[in-house]
């Protein structure tokens, strides 16, 4: 170990305590990001320690990547520098939970699974049915803007996050928003941190509004011959009085992952399923059952079924864990997250299918009807495709971002590190708002010590 490395270690030990700083090889490797391994892991106890660590990193020109459960560290570009892994797992406390006000303040290292239990005891929940639920932490969920099927009814983190405290890249402590459900006091800086992959600040507290659990739940599945019919069915529901909390369109490949217990199902190779979940008073759920059945029939559905409780739990769990299921079944898959308008869903699915067929990939898609499409391309069974060809496919998919008329914006969320290196920016071609994002990065993190290189355009 060099003298300067020893000095760094000593300083970090002073800040966080010796037992919370490690240079153990296995610990470092467990926190690698896109093939880049840090030099040291620090587990701070609080925001003041984080601020001190960031100031130390500024002085020593070191790069820091904050992390929680480590389930989504692969998202984003490879970091350009990475010295300190800032492991927030010790900061896992509920700081304030007022069930009567339906508000919650938590530390970033709190696991969502634990939080949901705490809330369930008060018959409440957070609408974050996110993948890797058993290990994912609030900080990571917020920093990656992890997508939940419940966004259909409740929106995403930005819609129910009331405020945050964080340590920006200058090593100070800052906050924005607050703890009340309605607030326009000052700039909404915390919204910028959502989905920022730790490039603007280290989140030290997140305040949410919570939601009441409703007494009854129903899950319904309708199957269709074409993507157009399935999508049209969802548009019809969106224009009706019905208010499902989940509406997802699964292609046959996704259906095989989502219903493992049903070998054949009605999910024939050409079939598309629409998965719907409804909550409310039992009269509301019953009404949805009848009306959805009727609408499905009018939309030319092959089949419409209401699921029993255990089937329902299993299906909704799998919908939630979809990205994880894809990666477990095809570790070399390239998984894109695409933001698009509902009317763009069928044409985009067709474009993706053609790209996949041409380049010899299997394609699996699961689409939130409100406009978030997960597309997983993996080498067709038994075949192997060179990383270069994979990267080319990635570029072809991301090229749609440059076509405003497509109303679709893709990001390559998951892929092998080698493909990521060759594919260029996983955020797609440069965009007009990039200079604004760069200015914001400089305002928050003038020395670029936080997660450098992981964000769009090399931010």
């Amino acid at each position: 170990m060099s003298r300067s490395a020893q000095a760094s270690l000593t300083r970090l030990e002073e800040i966080a305590g010796g037992e919370h700083v490690s240079m153990n090889d296995a610990e470092l490797r467990a926190r690698e990001v896109c093939g880049v391994v840090p030099s040291v892991v620090v587990r701070p106890a609080d925001a003041d320690q984080i601020a001190e660590i960031v100031r130390f990193a500024i002085a020593e020109k070191l790069a820091v990547i904050p992390m929680g459960g480590g389930t989504k560290l692969g998202i984003g570009s490879a970091p350009s520098r990475y010295d300190i892994a800032l492991d927030l797992s010790r900061m896992n406390q509920v700081l304030a939970y007022d069930p009567h006000d339906l508000t919650l303040g938590v530390e970033p290292g709190a696991r969502i699974a634990d939080l949901l239990q705490t809330l369930a005891a008060q018959k409440q929940f957070l609408p974050l049915a996110v993948p890797f639920l058993d290990r994912a932490t609030i900080g990571g969920i917020v920093a990656t803007n992890s997508s939940s099927p419940l966004r259909h009814a409740y929106g995403s983190v930005r819609d129910f996050c009331l405020g945050m405290e964080f340590v920006p890249g200058d090593g100070t402590r800052a906050k924005s928003g607050g703890r009340v459900v309605k607030n326009v006091t000052g700039y909404d800086l915390h919204k910028l941190l959502i989905g920022s992959l730790g490039t603007l600040g280290v989140i030290t507290r997140v305040n949410f509004r919570t939601f009441p659990l409703l007494p009854a739940q129903g899950t319904f599945v309708a199957t269709f011959q074409t993507a157009e019919e399935a999508s049209e069915f969802c548009v019809t529901i969106a224009h009706s009085f019905l208010t499902p909390q989940i509406a997802e369109i699964a292609d046959s490949g996704a259906a095989r992952l989502l219903y493992p217990q049903v070998e054949t199902n009605s999910a024939t190779p050409q079939s598309w399923s629409v998965i719907l979940s409804v909550v409310g008073h039992s009269a509301v759920v019953d009404r949805h059952g009848h009306e959805l059945d009727r609408l499905a029939d009018e939309a030319n559905a092959q089949e419409f079924s209401a699921l029993g409780e255990s089937e329902s739990v299993s299906l909704l769990t799998r919908v939630r864990e979809f990205p994880r299921l894809v990666l477990e079944s095809a570790p070399s898959a390239m998984v894109f997250r695409v933001n698009l308008i509902p009317s763009a869903i069928p044409p985009m699915l067709t474009e993706f299918r053609e790209l996949a067929n041409r380049a010899g990939f299997d394609l699996i898609t699961l689409t939130r009807a409100s406009g978030i499409l997960y597309a997983a391309f993996s080498p067709a069974a038994g075949s192997e495709i060179a990383p270069g060809a994979c990267a080319q496919l990635a570029k072809d998919v991301l090229q749609f971002n440059a076509k405003p008329e497509a109303h679709a914006q893709s990001m390559l969320e998951w892929c092998p590190a080698e493909v990521k290196r060759l594919a260029g920016d996983v955020w797609g071609p440069p965009r007009a708002d990039l200079p604004l994002m760069q200015k914001l990065k400089n305002a928050f993190d003038p020395q670029h010590v936080l997660s450098p290189g992981r964000f769009a355009g090399g931010i």
């Binding site: 018959k123 959502i194 978030i372 604004l436 928050f444």
Partner: protein, 477 residues
């Protein structure tokens, strides 16, 4: 001879798009707040290119520039505090596209809030943010202020309904942020811009979400003999996790003024009423209305009645939305507050406001969005009585401090503007404010865009500034 700047603006926009005569400028000195500021000229662009040209001219002349919609804002956001050019968006008032399939509308900033809902009514759709000024306020103004309204309890505020914005930056560049899809990758620039009170960029086009009208709506009026019973009902509704679409409270004093004006059938001898609306599928509405009635009765509501038809419902809401106007009949002026508190702190907060009212010998009416803890105490006064006005300002400051002390915020929907910018240190540390300053500088480096708003101007004093001369009040939210 007219100054060079005015001539250049006329050359850019045409003579009919520039006002600079003193009698014209006077009309733009104020908004819905108690603030004043004299602009140098008023311009009426018709396109983003016009706006970009204005911004470049303002840069050349090193002149401040302030955006303005309908001027209904309640914190001085549209006031030219340091003079300069006021950019009025009233001629950029086209609904550019209604995308029915995707439930989006693309509008220019000068489109009046209610006009958008009216334009999509035949499709069974509406635009959710519904500030009380919705008959006149513009969507551009709603974006700047992140406006709310009674129904934001269920639907969220403006930021939850904007997916994309076209901006003119301070260097005159035109940039689009966000898009038409429900989410966008990259930093949430639209999330930052909405509610930035015109201090970061000028907004020239907005893409908003449209909502489906619910199947059933039920409006309940619960009448109480004590304020405590009223506020305890609100707490209990929240505690039981019943989420009405709106839950508004009017105290007896306000109610009497409203009833004399609107004749909505409000009882004039009660301590307060709650106006509660539930909506959704008819099965859900019935169940919720029954639960709410039970809660209100438990807290000794004298009467809980439901509007029997759309007319009755409209009348009740007219009473709520025109309550501020009704106050104008009984007092020359009022100063409206906009504090937010955690909802469970409502009973003690109303008691505190009552104490403050007596301490300063002022009449304070309470009418507000009870369901989300957003208070609007109205402090009545006569602007000719300077001593009284000083008490008004002090009372307002005490109410604000109470909100902060119980864990609330300075403003729920009216904005900081030039009314509360010196109070920001009550909530934010110097470090918080320094970061906000850097963010503002990233967009607005010369500070020429809407100067003197949102952030404290000089030394943090934490005291309410006494405005020079209070102006007439418009229709607030």
């Amino acid at each position: 001879m007219r100054p060079q700047l005015i001539r250049e603006l006329e050359a850019l926009l045409g003579p009919k798009a520039v006002l600079s005569a003193p009698e014209d400028l006077m009309l733009y000195e104020y908004d819905g707040s108690v603030e004043l500021g004299a602009p140098r000229c008023i311009v009426f662009p018709t396109s983003a290119q016009d706006v970009a040209g204005i911004v470049r001219l303002a840069n050349r002349y090193e002149t401040p520039i302030v955006g303005r919609g309908a001027g209904t804002g309640l914190s001085g956001g549209a006031i030219a505090r340091n003079g300069g050019i006021v950019v009025t968006f009233s001629r950029m008032n086209c609904i550019l596209e209604i995308d029915e399939v995707n439930l989006r509308a693309v509008v220019q900033p000068g489109v009046v809030n209610l006009d958008l809902s009216r334009a999509v009514e035949h499709l069974g759709l509406f635009f959710a943010p519904d500030p009380s000024s919705q008959k006149s306020c513009t969507i551009g103004g709603n974006v700047s202020e992140n406006s709310g309204g009674p129904h934001t309890l269920a639907y969220g505020v403006t930021t939850n309904h904007v997916t994309g914005i076209e901006l003119v930056l301070t260097d005159g560049e035109i940039v689009r942020i966000g898009g038409r899809s429900i989410e966008s990758s990259g930093y949430d620039l639209a999330g930052l811009l909405v509610g930035s009170e015109g201090t970061l960029a000028l907004v020239t086009e907005i893409t908003v979400r449209l909502m489906r009208k619910p199947e059933a709506v039920k409006t309940l009026l619960a009448v109480y003999d004590t304020l405590d019973d009223t506020t305890e009902s609100v707490v209990d509704i929240t505690v039981r996790a019943i989420t009405p679409a709106a839950c508004e409270m009017l105290d007896g004093f306000t109610l009497r003024a409203v009833e004399d004006y609107v004749h909505a059938g409000f009882p004039k001898d009660c301590a307060a009423v709650l106006l509660i609306e539930v909506e959704g599928l008819k099965e859900a509405v019935e169940a919720q209305a029954a639960e709410i009635t039970e809660v209100c009765k438990k807290h000794r509501a004298r009467e809980v009645r439901a509007a029997q038809n759309d007319q009755e419902r409209a009348l009740l809401w007219r009473g709520r939305k025109e309550a501020f106007g009704a106050m104008g009949r009984i007092s020359p002026m009022y100063y409206v507050q906009d504090g937010v508190i955690p909802r469970t702190r409502l009973p003690e907060t109303l008691r505190r406001i009552d104490e403050i009212s007596r301490k300063y010998d002022l009449q304070i009416g309470n009418i507000f969005h009870a369901g989300d803890g957003n208070l609007h105490p109205l402090i009545l006064f006569d602007e000719r009585d300077r001593a009284q006005f000083a008490r008004v300002v002090a009372a307002g400051g005490e109410i604000m401090r109470h909100c902060v002390e119980v864990g609330g915020a300075l403003t729920g929907e009216h904005g900081i503007g030039m009314e509360k910018n010196e109070l920001m240190p009550l909530i934010f540390t110097p470090e918080d404010l320094a970061l906000m300053e850097r963010v503002r500088a990233a967009f607005n480096p010369a500070g020429r865009l809407n100067p003197g708003k949102v952030l404290p101007m000089g030394k943090a004093c934490g005291e309410i500034r006494v405005p020079p001369v209070p102006a007439a009040a418009a229709t607030p939210s």
